[in-house]
Amino acid sequence: MTSSTVNSTHRTVVPVGITTTDLWRREWQVKQQGAVQWLYPLVLFLVIITLFPLAVGSEPQLLHRLGVPAVWIAALLSLVMGVDGLFKPAMDNGTLAQLVVSRTSLPLWVLIRLTIHWIFSSGLVALLSLLAVPLFGLSWGEAGALLASILVGSPMLLMLSAIASSLTLSLKNGAVLVPLIALPLQLPVLIFATGAVDLYATGLNGLPILALLGAGSIISVLIMPWVIAMTLKMAWLN
């Protein structure tokens, strides 16, 4: 070692860190490569809403009545099933460790990861919910209200699923527990969302309920990434 080449005074190095754009690019690449994982919940959603008309048979009034709750239950189940791979792979392959060591903002990473996951899960489920028009005989107006309710309520659903997923990260069979933890917390969203669409269908104003759901989603998005980041850091302690 040549001591003469070394600066004799303290040279504090503050790491620049990764940019939001680079984080977004990385998560987008991961999502694109793992198409099977995000396609599976969508196929599950399609299967459930297709089976309903087949099982109920040719009773248009009953189908119409079941349409909104059936689509919402299918959406809820597919969204909960899809969160299994939210954080576990990043924990297992060391990505999470590298993020922590490099002092990357974990809440920002969580927010980006969940946003991309939301686009590929809830966003697509919302679009597919328009199939309720041919399958359940919903009017386009009702289908539009259903789509809006999924878009507005799903961020809160995702955040609740994500917190359950992060809490069970260090458990061996944690994925089994995620629906058990998340679903009871998500029931109010289901009740409010289907209630809003029902109000619209009966000619009443469902907007206040949608606004309430929207407020819940906004609060979830603002708070939950920090909570999830804390639980992710705790995963190493076990």
Binding site: M1, N7, R11, G94, V101, R103, T104, L237
Partner: protein, 266 residues
Amino acid sequence: MHSNNRSFSESSHSTPTVLALQDITIQRGDFPLCEGVTLSLHSGEICHLVGANGTGKTTLLMQLAGLLPLLEGKVIYQGQPTLPIAPLYVSHQLGIHPSLTVKQNLTFLLNLYGIKPTAQQIENALDWVDLSGFENMGSNQLSAGQTRRVTLARLYLMRVEQTPLWLLDEPFTALDVSMVARLQQRLQDFANSGGAVLMTSHQPVEVANKSLNLSDYLPDYSSDDFLSSDESADYSSNFLSEDENTINTDNDSLHNESLHHDKGTW
């Protein structure tokens, strides 16, 4: 406690202290693995962390990397009581996503430290680890050794300006002889440029100019119930070269500023 025989060898104090540890307790959960660990790591030093299995080498690196809480002791990093520090950390947790390409993974690992590598830099780094031409190959098609080389390739592009401290946990695992030699040369170059390295290895580290033996810091009960002190001493002595000078860590000069870490760190 074994304060009378706690020791590490060191080369020089003429360079600034990058990392100073004082009375660190290495612990997993509630179980203390080592107590009173003290170290002063200066620019230009490559410190070989030795000790028997279970003495907490990996745990210490994880604590310093910010992955595990540091419940007792003081840490000074670059003259400041700062935690978490942001060193380069290479461990068994490679940070390689299997479904992404080699280039995508290496770019991300460098992005974490603010480096935006050019295609040529990526090519050079991969050439350095004998993975030339593997840029667009899926990481899931690589062998364990090759996957490890991808994460090590960033050492080729990392400079002291990005982070002055490298924490390397068994960096030579699954590497062939020529790669180990190249890696040792890279460690030497990094140290010469003003960086500091704290590393574990079960192989001799020829470029190391300092060592810290964690077997000297075992709690008393461990020597009876958990680990034979004779065995651990014999084991660790294999890594200490005969010409290394041994000094008492109690004389080690630590920066006055300090940070006491309590349970609220995480």
